[in-house]
């Protein structure tokens, strides 16, 4: 291990040895190092948001034929800092009748849930917060805490719109967890592990090639989990003022804001780790630090797509969105899971007897899975076609608002 190929572990080692030489016990040193690591990852995450907020605003502007932020710093890159100062110095407004503890707890829960996710994301083969052996489940568990934050915020604000936003949050976030978990099970099945790092390790062929449909389902449903456009029904400003965050101001609002941006970035990172091969790339074995670069390149590509979707898609209606989840995504994910499991099992049984060439096996496997995915998609499309609504839905006939009185009979004659 040397500094150039793996700087972070190198420094950690050096620091650990230093602390040990001070006479601290091994346990204490581990705890201290873990704390420093957690602090670093957290700080890194928050600082990243500063950049992604600028990036998103810039992209937003370009799409709408504007310049976007362009005053503070080169290309407006420091625009976020004045915004931060503004939000820090704003007044905290606490409306009458709120449940104070819950009201203050909610933004913290909401932002920490997102940040907790970063604990299991592998940035490089050797740089991972903690490689929990049930990492994928951990992701889901932490995600549900985020939902809790939103609900509490909505309820404790003592505001109808907030509460409505919270109701929608329950309906949306909890529902979309189902296809998300089902889609997550497919990488688990293919990689035969629940640890995120081992899943990255298992991606000789990226899972998005093996199962593009699963990737798409995961992407869609985690997009819905973030509550961003086109799934931003929790805070639909045309209907609910600002949804669950209506009554928040100042830094508490900032926390929700940062939480949302960080969440969007986090799902891009998860997408990259679970489906796009994470840190995998050429020469990563020799130079682990390269993995960080690969990982962030992939993450930013996905993030770019996330932003593009947010910018270009109109908002869905709540019933459409739930229909889409329960009547389309969930069955599709279930079918896909069953098909993948069968194919995988059949492949495991078949490989020894078919005596395929050792080298080609991962690619053959990928091909078979891809083929099954295409077949599933094809059947889905056929079914959708045959069930498409043939007639335009009948809308109630418009009733005249005011009926003109019948002219008196004498006028006619």
């Amino acid at each position: 291990m040397n500094f150039l190929t793996d700087p972070i572990n190198f420094i950690a080692n050096w620091l650990g040895n230093l602390l040990l030489s001070f006479g601290m016990s091994q346990t204490l040193v581990t705890v201290i190092l873990k704390f420093i690591g957690a602090g670093l990852v957290g700080t890194f995450g928050f600082s990243l948001v500063i950049f992604t907020i600028w990036l998103e605003r810039k992209l937003y502007g370009r799409i709408q034929d504007r310049l976007g932020p362009n005053r503070v710093g080169p290309w407006g890159i420091f625009q976020t800092f004045p915004d931060m100062i503004k939000i820090f110095t704003k007044e905290y407004i606490t409306p009458i009748g709120v449940d104070k503890i819950v009201y203050n707890l909610a933004p913290i829960l909401s932002v920490s849930a997102v940040l907790l996710t970063w604990a299991v994301i592998p940035f490089a083969p050797t740089i991972v917060g903690t490689d929990v052996n049930v990492g994928v489940l951990y992701l889901v568990a932490v995600g549900s805490i985020g939902a809790l934050g939103i609900i509490l915020a909505g309820w404790s604000s003592n505001n109808k719109y907030s509460l409505l936003g919270a109701f929608r949050a329950v309906a949306q976030v909890v529902s979309y967890e189902v296809p998300m978990v089902l889609a997550l099970l497919i990488p688990v099945l293919l990689g035969q592990s629940m640890g995120v790092n081992s899943l990255v390790n298992a991606q000789n062929v990226w899972f998005i090639i093996l199962s593009p449909v699963a990737a798409l389902i995961f992407f869609t449903s985690s997009l819905a989990e973030t509550g961003r456009a086109p799934f931003d029904l929790l805070e639909a400003e045309s209907e609910l003022v600002a949804g669950y965050q209506t009554e928040y101001s100042g830094l508490k609002f900032g926390m929700f804001y940062v939480g949302e941006f960080l969440h969007a970035f986090t799902i891009s990172a998860l997408m990259a780790a679970l489906f796009l091969g994470g840190w995998r790339g050429p020469w990563v074995e020799q130079v682990p630090i390269l993995g960080v670069a690969y990982f962030f390149i992939k993450t930013f590509i996905v993030y770019f797509v996330v932003v593009l979707i947010r910018i270009s898609m109109p908002r869905l209606r709540i019933d459409q969105m739930l229909d889409f989840n329960w009547k389309f995504l969930t069955p599709l994910a279930l079918v896909l899971l069953i098909v993948t499991a069968i194919v995988e099992k059949a492949f495991i049984i078949l490989v020894p007897s078919l005596q395929l060439m050792e080298v080609g096996v991962p690619w053959v496997r990928a091909g078979v899975h891809l083929l099954m995915n295409i077949i599933v998609v094809w059947i889905t499309i056929q079914l959708l076609k045959s069930h498409r609504i043939k007639a335009v839905r009948v809308v109630a006939k418009p009733r005249p608002i005011a009926v003109a009185p019948e002219p008196p009979a004498s006028v006619i004659s």
């Binding site: 009748g97 929990v132 052996n133 568990a141 939902a147 109701f167 909890v174």
Partner: protein, 170 residues
């Protein structure tokens, strides 16, 4: 006192206090929040018991689903935020007596049992345990039948819940 014991005691106290608050709190939403805290404490116990998988499952199912459902139901059946009046019925003293009696009974039975103060044996192969559990749940000579029954129960419960809570279209 080892660190583990200290952690246990702190978590136990927090969990029990949260539990007592669940059954005594006047505000139903607060009850639910205390319940969440209590369930978190139990998740920590699972970790202490070398069952990390169950800790994660506890968070997903109890906090991610059940507790949220509770909050949701509480919000749906509420007109005002604050509940008024006592939250216990007139038999509360009898209930408390019964609960204490039961505790005493259990304590007596437990203290007389010689395995009561046993210490945990060394755990063999902690990492393979999860896959072992998974295989046991679907292997025909172990738990596949109860497991399938549980899944049938879940499906039945789901259909039943949808039917019962759904709007009846006339």
């Amino acid at each position: 006192m080892t660190p583990e014991q200290i952690i246990f005691l702190i978590v136990a106290v927090v969990t029990l206090v949260a539990g007592i608050s669940v059954v005594t709190s006047r505000n139903l939403i607060h009850s639910a929040l205390w319940l969440i805290l209590s369930l978190f404490g139990i998740a920590v116990f699972y970790v202490l018991l070398d069952a990390g998988f169950f800790a994660v499952i506890q968070v997903i199912i109890y906090i991610g689903a059940i507790a949220i459902l509770f909050i949701f139901a509480a919000m749906l059946t509420r007109r005002v935020m604050q509940d008024t009046g006592p939250q216990s019925n007139s038999n509360w003293w009898l209930g408390a007596l019964i609960a204490l009696l039961l505790l005493a009974g259990i304590a007596v039975v437990l203290v007389n049992w010689q395995g009561f103060t046993a210490l945990a044996p060394e755990l063999i192969n902690p990492s393979g345990r999860l896959s072992q559990l998974g295989l046991a749940l679907v292997s025909p000579d172990q738990y596949v039948l109860p497991f399938e029954l549980a899944s049938v129960l879940l499906v039945a419960a789901m259909i039943g819940a949808i039917f019962v809570a759904g709007e009846k279209k006339q």
